[in-house]
């Protein structure tokens, strides 16, 4: 078995060292006979960007869906700010979720709603009793962050893929989360737009001082964003380290990702 090299994040990659915000211990998840995660361990520290690399179907999406409570693991602990996600009641889970943003692979913008309604949705759902004035202000602020203020009254179907991704990002950021989970943020975008999105993610990351887990197999994206890279292979954390460390690894299985 290759070595699972768990290293403390180096001081240089971090703006400021934080406590671990996500601790995953001995996580198991299977769908029928298909075992996706078996004894997976991971720690994410404050203001750190962790990229999870892996083949399609390796269980990357499953991992982050378990973190946000969309999927229930078979076994194991997922501690987010000290709350064990699988054991939370729906109300408690909702409370934790306000601190976690999730950028879906397919954007998941509600196509029956305008951009404004899309952005208002999490605000109104999580923070009941918010005044319309405040909501409007936050919506515009979120759109300004991604530079798409003019799309306010448009429908999602009228926008391009890159614009939709930005809107989705704006919606993710509107609740000012402390952790953001990105599910393949650049998949399906042209390389130029993908780079724009990468830069935007990084910019907002710095602005809001968030920690994040990014799932990707786009190596450019990984290179740009990652403070630390985790290789998810055969249901376990196969390797861990900075981009450079893994790029220069001698392991055959690691190498094939960097070719």
């Amino acid at each position: 078995m290759p070595v699972s090299k768990i290293t403390e994040p180096s001081e240089s990659n971090k703006i400021s060292k934080g406590e671990p915000v996500i601790i995953i211990e001995h996580l198991f998840k299977s769908f029928g006979k298909n075992v996706v995660l078996k004894d997976f361990n991971l720690k994410v520290y404050g203001q750190e960007n962790v990229v999870v690399l892996g083949k399609s179907g390796a269980g990357k999406s499953v991992l982050i869906k378990c973190i946000i409570g969309l999927l229930k693991p078979d076994r194991g602990k997922i501690l987010v700010f000290g709350n064990n996600i699988p054991e939370l009641s729906p109300d408690e889970l909702d409370k934790v979720r306000t601190k976690i943003g999730f950028l879906f692979q397919a954007n998941a913008l509600y196509d029956s709603m305008t951009i404004r309604e899309n952005l208002e949705f999490p605000l109104r759902r999580h923070w009941i009793g918010l005044k319309q004035k405040e909501v409007d202000k936050m919506v515009l602020e979120a759109l300004d962050n991604v530079g798409l203020r003019n799309t306010l009254e448009m429908m999602p179907i009228e926008l391009s893929g890159g614009m939709l991704k930005r809107i989705a990002l704006a919606r993710t950021l509107i609740l000012k989360p402390e952790i953001i989970l990105y599910d393949e943020p650049t998949t399906g975008l042209d390389p130029v737009t993908a780079r724009e999105i990468d830069k935007l993610i990084l910019k907002l990351q710095k602005k809001f001082k968030t920690s994040s887990i990014v799932i990707s197999h786009d190596m450019n994206c990984v290179k740009t964003i990652a403070d630390r890279v985790v290789l998810l292979l055969d249901g376990i954390c196969y390797a861990e380290g900075t981009y450079d460390e893994l790029e220069h690894s001698e392991d055959e299985k690691i190498k094939q990702f960097f070719e």
Partner: protein, 256 residues
């Protein structure tokens, strides 16, 4: 083996649908109430279905009258035509036609809408945004279909009776007043009330099956199509099954 697998699948599906429907009563009706969403759904499910259901019921009333006339003329009871048509419409034709059209229009649209929401992770997004998708999407739609179909049926019955009135007037002349007096004179509460009550069940079945199929849609555009299609098929079949059960039940209660 394939047969056994099919039977297993059937009961698996029945069980999970029942569980899904049971969820409506255990979770769906608890606060927080999505009043705004129920209203919005009621508008698009109820109000917007009226023209279609009105048209089909109108034609049904007209055609039924024209089809029944020859038999009644043969027995020399042509004057009973409004009575016959009135009872047929109020007891059976009106509710069932309305429910079937409703299943075709609403069942498929709910199946497709929730199916595509499922496929594009919008349902997950909703859950992440502090919203119980079952309450927000399913309960509201099921509530809307359950409450709107009876209203659509009543209005459809009325429109159907106007169609029947025109049908009666093609071959003879009857005043609208006499027609409606004849119809309502022959009707009793035991005709109207079970017929209206069963439409609540029809509406519930259409909404629930549409949501279930949408929620369990498999990935891809084909999955959405299958969801929409099977929602219509299953809810149409359920309408007839419920109709059968209701008629048995009303017989049992001696309401016929």
């Amino acid at each position: 083996m394939a047969l056994i697998q099919d039977i297993r699948d059937f009961f698996d599906e029945t069980g999970s649908l029942t569980k899904f429907a049971g969820n409506f009563f255990t979770n769906g009706l608890k606060p927080r109430y999505e009043v705004k969403e129920v209203l919005a759904q009621s508008y698009s499910i109820g109000y917007k279905s009226l023209p279609l259901i009105g048209l089909t019921n109108f034609i049904m009333g007209l055609v039924l009258t024209m089809q029944l006339r020859p038999s009644l003329v043969k027995y020399g009871v042509e004057s009973q035509l409004p009575v016959m048509v009135g009872i047929a419409i109020v007891r059976e034709i009106g509710p069932v036609i309305a429910a079937l059209i409703f299943a075709g229009k609403i069942g498929s649209s709910i199946g497709a809408e929730l199916g595509s929401m499922k496929v594009t992770e919008q349902i997950d997004a909703m859950e992440v945004s502090g919203t119980n998708p079952y309450k927000y999407l399913v309960a509201t739609r099921v509530l809307a279909t359950t409450l709107m179909l009876p209203i659509l049926t009543i209005l459809g019955d009325g429109i159907s009776l106007i169609g029947a009135y025109i049908g009666v007037n093609i071959n003879s002349v009857t005043s609208l007043h006499l027609f409606f007096i004849q119809v309502f004179h022959s009707l009793t509460f035991s005709d109207l009330i079970p017929a209206i009550i069963k439409t609540f069940f029809f509406g519930f079945a259409v909404g629930m099956v549409g949501c279930y199929k949408g929620f369990n849609s498999v990935k891809g555009t084909r999955g959405v199509g299958i969801s929409a299609n099977s929602a219509v098929v299953l809810s149409s079949v359920l309408i007839f099954v419920i109709d059968l059960l209701v008629v048995q039940f009303t017989n049992l209660l001696g309401l016929n």
